[in-house]
Amino acid sequence: MRDIMGLSQAPKEGETPLSKTSKKSFIKKGETFKRPQGMHRELFNLLVNQGKEMSKSMEQSIVPSDTKTGYRNVKAQIGFRRSRKWQYKPFLNEARNDGLQLKHWEREDRKPTEPYPFARFNKVLPIPKFSDAEYERFIRDPKWSKSETEHLFDLCERFDLRWPVIMDRFDFKTFKSTKTMEDLKERYYDVVNELNAARGNNVEPLSYDVEHEKRRKEQLCKLWNRTKEQIKEEEDLKLAMKKIETKRREREKKVSDLKRILQAADRASNSPSPGGLSPGGSSHKRRGMFKKTGAPGAAQLMTPTEASHGIRFHEFRSSGPHLRSQEIRLPSNVGQKKMKNIDIVVERLKLDVFPHAHEEIVKSYNEFRSDVVVLLELKTALQAAESELEVLRNRMQNELGRTFDIEPRFQVKDNEIGDRPKTRGKGAPTSRRRITQMLEIIPGGLPTTRKRKATERASPAPELKRSSRSTHS
């Protein structure tokens, strides 16, 4: 019990608790620091033991850390060896040939046999040197004296063939000559070539075209010195040329479009009954014709789709069954205007909008509508041509005083329904143009590609249409 309590054993004789305190156990007063109130005990212990020998080992074992010795941030270890001294010593520069020794700071372990690192930057261009004999034999030139040539070569060596500088420093006054940079270059390259040839060096001769260079520089000077008016003139000319180009292209496009429409019309009128042909087959033929007429001069034209050959009806290629009435359905790429005109014609001619879907009826009906579309396009083209003719007529009237008549077969604009144009006589149209008169044209010129419009089409069996569209498209 007493051991636990830490009390001393049973007091020996004569011993008192007081006498146990021996002098040796006196701690020096100066070493005890009182822990300030409020400071944590651990913190105080740390602070008190700072700098002491024993604290190092204590601190080491307390927290594992990368910095080897404890809490203090150790200085970063850059390099793993002792620092080397630098000395201020004279050094030898291999690029110099006079033995000048300047002093600089170098690290003590630089070997004396190491060359001066910057000496290797002393690059020299190999300029050939010629002797007097060589000069006499190979390089004589009436325009160049010997001293001039030597001076030129000296400058070339000093300035490493930098021609603007050589030209600048050439001593024209002493030699009383005026030479251009091209002359200097020419002389240099000629001499080098001669020397190479004479000495038998198998290098390719340097070719220098003096005349070309002179002309090039002259042209550059002219270009530089263009005045503002000249530049403006050039710009104007360029613009005018562009305009002419675009006009030409437009004209060509018109011509080829017309050709195509006419071809389509021809084919439509020539073949008596396209009965045996399926819509797919006829469209193939049309495409072939399109290719023929389209090829010449159509490179730069916008190529309209087969819409200009009439209507390309939906082809049923799937193996499953389909309703024939779906074949009557107009494809969605037929534009508003065409649809409207088809409707007008069909109505005027008192046809059924939705005939019975018999095979022959369907075929004829589709071809008829296709032809209407072709006719519409032709009418448009003809109207445009008529307007042009009128314009030209007016111009001719104004300029020349004369005029010419536009033949009736060309007149298509103002024909009302019911007009009976004469089909005989000179310049008369070849037919009565009944249907043509029904067509309404909103002015706009030749047909061009139209984007697919997501407009509603009136057609029978809308649900079926939708479902078939989803399966076929």
């Binding site: 033995g99 000048l100 700071w105 910057f118 930057f121 500088v165 940079m181 000077c221």
Partner: protein, 432 residues
């Protein structure tokens, strides 16, 4: 090897840049010159009254002894019988005795270096003559025993300080403005164009304007004390007592300091050729003179430096042959025009502005605008200028410092041995 990565190798070279306004000196490899002393020197004939020495000197026809006062601290002290002179003329060293004194002062008092241990790099104007160059070489090797020596054109160094090896260097300094085409580190001497318009001209214009407005320019040294007065009111100052009898040139020099300070603080250039609208809209700047007088300056701020770009505004009865003067943009355009057509585009796209006078507000923009009108519209015009004032004033010195501390330059020095062998004409051969 020190600075091996960057190509630097410092050998402790000295770089000297002698300009018309100041002389820049320092050690190679440093950022700015440590010493910038005025190019003016105070000269006083030694006023020893009739000693045997002076009589002898005069009798034998030698020059009588003179005292030279070099450096701002010595120069600005008012002394009797002291003339202020300059040793530079037209950008070239004219008075060699004075120049020697300046160098002595630099070596002894400023750099505290012995000349025989340090190689020396000097700058020179692109139109420097052969004789002057040789004389300088002789001076450095014979008198100062420099171990190595080299001279470079200051335009090339300005280009290097801007980080380029080629381009058109437009240096607008105190006495003149020059346009020098630099190609690949060499200067095309035949295409150099210079005109005597520069900082001094601007200062002179300021003086005329102030005289016309009856403002009395009182230099610093006269003012003993002054009192604050309201703006525009006549100044209230007292003259310093016991001032020695100073010479006229000293007085003029001190007044010029005041004017230079005035020019530095107030002048501004318009971006486009000046018009009334700009002059009216220009904000006023108030300047206080050393005597205490304060005034607001409005339109004069723009009119005075306009004479640099438009000679019509040049006010001067004393200016002879005004027709032969060119304004700054004409200088640049002419110089480009004289260069070969192949390098002209590189010159225009690498136009560098340097020199102390170019620090006038609006100088770069105005030059850009004027040149864009002059040259064909197809070429690319790019005007660059160092951003800080120190870099512009010390442009050529900084270039010299770069060059002198490069490792690959160390093979180019003219050493004393070479000089001893060949003589002073070696400078023509080795220094491009």
């Amino acid at each position: 090897m020190s600075g091996g990565i960057y190509g630097g190798d410092d050998v402790g070279a000295l770089v000297f840049d002698a300009g018309s306004h100041s002389f820049r000196a320092g050690f190679g490899g440093e950022e700015y010159p440590k010493f910038d002393i005025p190019a003016h020197v105070g000269v006083r004939m030694t006023v020893e009254s009739t000693t045997d020495e002076t009589i002898e000197a005069v009798a034998t026809g030698n020059k009588p002894k003179r005292d030279y006062f070099v450096g701002t601290t010595f120069l600005n002290v008012p002394r009797a019988h002291t003339e202020i002179d300059t040793y530079m003329k037209d950008g070239l060293i004219e008075d060699w005795d004075m120049f020697e004194k300046v160098l002595d002062y630099l070596y002894e008092k400023c750099l505290l270096a012995e000349s025989k241990y340090h190689p020396v790099l000097f700058t020179e104007a692109p139109w420097n003559t052969k004789e002057k160059r040789e004389k300088l070489t002789e001076l450095m090797f014979e008198k100062y025993q420099s171990p190595a020596f080299f001279v470079v054109k200051n335009a090339v160094l300005s280009a290097f300080a801007n980080g380029r090896t080629g381009g058109l260097v437009l240096d607008s300094g105190a006495t003149h403005t020059s346009a020098v085409p630099v190609y690949d580190g060499y200067c095309l001497t035949h295409a150099v164009v210079k005109s005597p318009i520069g900082g001094d001209l601007v200062v002179e214009q300021c003086r005329r304007v102030l005289e016309k407005e009856n403002i009395d320019i009182v230099p610093y040294y006269k003012v003993a004390s002054k009192e604050e007065v309201k703006e525009g009111e006549p100044p209230n100052w007292t003259l310093k007592r016991s001032l020695p009898e100073v010479t006229k040139s000293y007085d003029e020099y001190m007044k010029k300091q005041v004017l230079e300070d005035f020019a530095m603080s107030t002048l501004q250039l318009c971006d486009t050729p000046i018009d009334l609208e700009f002059m009216e809209k220009l904000p006023a700047v108030s300047y206080g003179f050393p005597c205490g007088f304060r005034k607001d300056f409005l339109a004069e701020r723009a009119k005075i430096p306009e004479s640099l770009f438009d000679l019509k505004y040049l006010d001067g009865d004393g200016l002879n042959n005004r027709e032969s003067l060119m304004n700054v943009s004409q200088i640049a355009a002419t110089s480009c025009g004289m260069a070969d057509i192949d390098i002209r585009p590189t010159l225009y796209s690498n136009l560098m502005i340097t020199g102390g006078n170019s620090l006038i507000m609006g100088f770069t923009e105005r030059l850009n605008h004027d040149l864009a009108h002059k040259c064909p519209p197809t070429i690319k015009l790019r005007v660059s200028a160092a951003p800080t004032p120190m870099e512009r004033r010390y442009g050529s010195w900084i270039g010299g410092s770069i060059v002198a501390s490069l490792g690959s330059f160390q093979q180019l020095w003219i050493s004393k041995n070479e000089y001893d062998e060949t003589g002073k004409i070696i400078v023509e051969k080795k220094c491009p």
